[in-house]
């Protein structure tokens, strides 16, 4: 089915491109090409949604892995928030959280979008993005020698990640 969908999409796109670029456009074969491309694209969308539960990212393979990764990010952010301001390597720890925990989760975000649609994806990943921005601000504040601002931002980031966990679609739990 997947191969057929690809053939329909590619063949349809090629036919429609060529006949649409002709002067004047050759409307009958153009319409056929569009129909083939749309049919192929719709089949590929269905396949994509079915495969989403399997995941495609390194390290995070499915929805439960993605949710677990989000929980870890929340917990690690809370742990950083609890550290004293004087922690000498706080900037490095924030960066490690960003690159080792947050980044892999963001790389695997399509798992949720494909399986539950863009609305559920937006409900979870809008607060995650806000949390990410707060972590980025915490990093900048630490680089600018302002640990008080960093602490505030770590708290806000945790709040956003918790909100993302609360917004996780019920059908996937």
């Amino acid at each position: 089915m997947n191969t057929l969908a690809w053939i329909l999409f590619v063949a349809g796109t090629l036919v429609a491109t060529a006949t649409g670029a002709h002067s004047p456009p050759m409307w009958a074969p153009f319409g056929l090409g569009i129909a083939l491309a749309v049919a192929g694209a719709m089949l590929l969308r269905r396949q994509s949604a079915k495969q989403a539960a399997g995941g495609d990212a390194d390290g995070i393979h499915d929805l439960s892995g993605l949710r677990e990764a989000l929980h870890e990010v929340t917990a690690n952010t809370a742990a950083l928030e609890a550290l004293p301001d004087q922690t000498h390597d706080l900037l490095e720890r924030v960066e490690a959280l960003q690159l080792e925990h947050l980044l892999p989760m963001l790389e695997a975000r399509s798992i949720l979008a494909s399986s539950h649609g863009v609305k559920s994806y937006a409900r979870v990943f809008t607060p995650i993005a806000s949390g990410e921005r707060c972590l980025n601000r915490a990093w900048s504040a630490l680089a600018d020698q302002n640990p008080a601002e960093a602490r505030v931002q770590l708290g806000r980031a945790r709040g956003h990640f918790e909100a993302a966990e609360q917004g996780w679609p019920a059908s996937s739990t």
Binding site: T17, V38, L99, T126, R137
Partner: protein
């Protein structure tokens, strides 16, 4: 949906400051005047974000010693937000002068200012969608963020940024000295026919943008392949190109100008519109999240600054823009009649929103913004609404010339708005990466959005006419007629002038726009976001650019697979950022040097 509430105050972390805004305004005005001159002379615009960020590092962090990363971000946001108007103006306004039409320049200033504000308004929901949900790369925005963070990112990243900058600068210097060619004609070396377009634009900035985009940018490369390696051989071998064109050696120009570009523009538009339909639930959720952010702040009773602008700003801004554009249309040509004036004002506003979406996606995925193509569509659309297409009357007819002035005025608004959109989205990506408050960036941008159009149009009018009213440096001036070095040929506006003459005579390729629009909508159904926009953009641009970018994407994919995401962030991002910054800085220096002789 929970959204960012107010930022607790009292931590003393400086973001918006008078000195950052002042520095940004001074740089922005200087760059706008210089880039307007350079754009009229050379035909292209230059981004100012990286220059402003570097000056901010020197002044705010180096000389004043206490500048913060997010404060410098405000400086570069202001500077580039002002400067961005220069591209929008030089691509469009001189067309009216070249056509020899009378117009009130203040109306163009008002149209450009309305476009500038509309460009900021439109990106309020688009930021949520493209920066936060789609997570588009915005290569220049990423590069500027790397620059802002450079002093605290560690020695290795700083070295990689420096190496990339020097490498890229060296290539630009080599090109200027004639040591390095701008394009490497690989096709002729391999004995391939010219219509396959196998030439490589030797820009490391282009390669850097591909490196930052990775897998997400590959459809852009495939769009180029579709046009030049599929459609070109088909058209040539099936003899779709007029024999006299082939005999005159015009095959490549015909393919590019009469087939790829009009079809590509249509695909861009159709792809963007279908993208809105598919992403509507997410866009709706994003707008709702803006509303919930404001409600949260009110519920908290805190007076601290909010992270997000209210969705109401979006609605009010769009309505005001429609009113102002309608007013400009009325002031320029009241003889059009009320129905056409209203339709022109509303259609101009709607097109700014659509064009803003297109340009935001295009810059997010490739760093390239098709400003002139979108302005061209706006002018064609307005010429149709004002009834100036195919009337059989020339530009000497008062009704046609009045309609052309109206169409170009709306084209100015569209071009400035899309330019503003492209820049603001890059700035907001930078802001996201350094943790800036989006509302802070948007508010300062609102405060200075009127400056750029005023400086750019003022500079252009001063350059065009000498104080005594006699011809200055324009294409009809003695300087240009004699081929002197101080000639300003305004090449982009010259192309628009030629297009307007063709459209007025009834020669617009509307059928190809339509076919492209349907095709763009169809391919956007494919389960990879933004496919239509990327394919359309690739067909609209020369293949030499697409090819170099595609090589960057493929290198990035290979490295990501071999080394992983963290290695990419640690090594490739600073190096690629350096490649972008180095070319931008060096090209800027050479542009100004050339423009001022």
């Amino acid at each position: 949906m929970v959204e960012a509430g107010p930022v607790p105050s009292g931590t003393g972390y400086r973001e918006i400051s008078a000195r950052a805004i002042a520095l940004g305004i001074i740089q922005g005005i200087a760059m706008t005047a210089a880039f307007t001159y350079a754009g009229l002379k050379l035909g292209f615009g230059v981004g100012g974000s990286s220059v402003a960020a570097i000056l901010g590092l020197v002044i705010l962090r180096g000389m004043l010693r206490d500048g913060t990363i997010v404060e410098n971000n405000i400086n570069q946001t202001v500077a580039s937000g002002i400067n961005t108007a220069s591209s929008g103006v030089v691509f469009t306004v001189p067309a009216l002068l070249l056509l020899g039409l009378d117009f009130n320049p203040w109306m163009l200033v008002i149209a450009a200012v309305a476009g500038s504000f509309m460009g900021i308004v439109v990106i309020i929901p688009l930021r949520k969608q493209m920066v936060e949900l789609d997570r588009l790369r915005f290569p220049t925005g990423t590069a500027v963020a790397t620059l802002l963070k450079a002093t605290a990112s560690g020695r290795e990243k700083a070295i990689l940024l420096g190496v990339g900058t020097l490498l890229s600068a060296a290539v630009v210097v080599g090109m200027e000295l004639g040591v390095v060619p701008e394009e490497w004609d690989v096709g002729s070396l391999l004995g391939l026919p010219p219509y396959l377009g196998v030439a490589l634009y030797l820009s490391l900035m282009n390669l850097g943008a591909g490196l930052l985009s990775g897998k997400g940018g590959m459809p852009f490369f495939l769009g180029g392949v579709l046009a030049w390696w599929f459609l070109a051989p088909v058209a040539v071998n099936l003899a779709w190109i007029p024999a006299e064109t082939v005999a005159a050696g015009g095959t490549v120009d015909f393919l590019y100008g009469s087939m790829f570009r009009p079809l590509g523009i249509g695909i861009l538009i159709g792809g963007a519109l279908m993208g809105v339909v598919l992403a509507f639930p997410a866009i709706k959720a994003a707008i709702q999240s803006l509303a919930s952010a404001v409600k949260l702040q009110q519920a908290d009773g805190s007076s601290g600054p909010a992270d997000e602008l209210s969705a109401r700003v979006l609605y009010v801004g769009v309505a005001l823009s429609a009113v102002v554009l309608t007013g400009v249309v009325f002031a320029l040509d009241p003889s059009l009649g009320l129905p056409r004036i209203l339709i022109a004002g509303i259609a101009g506003t709607v097109w700014i929103a659509v064009a803003g979406l297109i340009v935001a996606q295009a810059t997010g995925m490739t760093d390239i913004s098709p400003l002139s193509g979108l302005a061209l569509i706006a002018v064609t659309l307005l010429l149709g609404i004002t009834g100036a297409i195919g009337t059989g009357k020339g530009l000497d007819d008062a009704a046609v010339s009045g309609a052309v002035v109206v169409a170009v005025a709306v084209g100015v608004a569209v071009c400035v708005a899309t330019s503003q959109c492209a820049d603001m989205m890059q700035d907001l990506k930078t802001g996201h990466l350094v943790g800036a408050r989006p509302a802070a960036q948007q508010v300062v941008q609102f405060g200075v959005a009127w400056i750029g159009p005023l400086v750019a149009i003022g500079t252009m009018m001063l350059l065009w006419n000498t104080p005594d009213g006699s011809p200055g440096f324009g294409p009809q001036s003695a300087a240009c007629l004699q081929g002197a070095g101080d000639c300003l040929s305004a090449p982009q506006a010259g192309a628009l002038e030629g297009m307007i003459r063709g459209v007025v005579d009834g020669n617009a390729p509307v059928d190809k726009y339509l076919a492209g629009g349907i095709l763009g909508g169809a391919v956007t159904l494919f389960p990879v976001g933004g496919l239509g926009v990327l394919l359309g953009l690739a067909m609209y641009l020369p293949f030499s650019i697409t090819l170099g970018y595609g090589i960057g994407c493929m290198m990035s994919m290979g490295l990501q697979r071999a080394k992983g995401a963290r290695w990419m962030e640690d090594k490739v991002v600073p190096l690629a950022a350096g490649l972008i910054v180095g070319e931008a800085l060096t090209a800027l220096v050479f542009s100004i040097a050339k423009a001022f002789g």
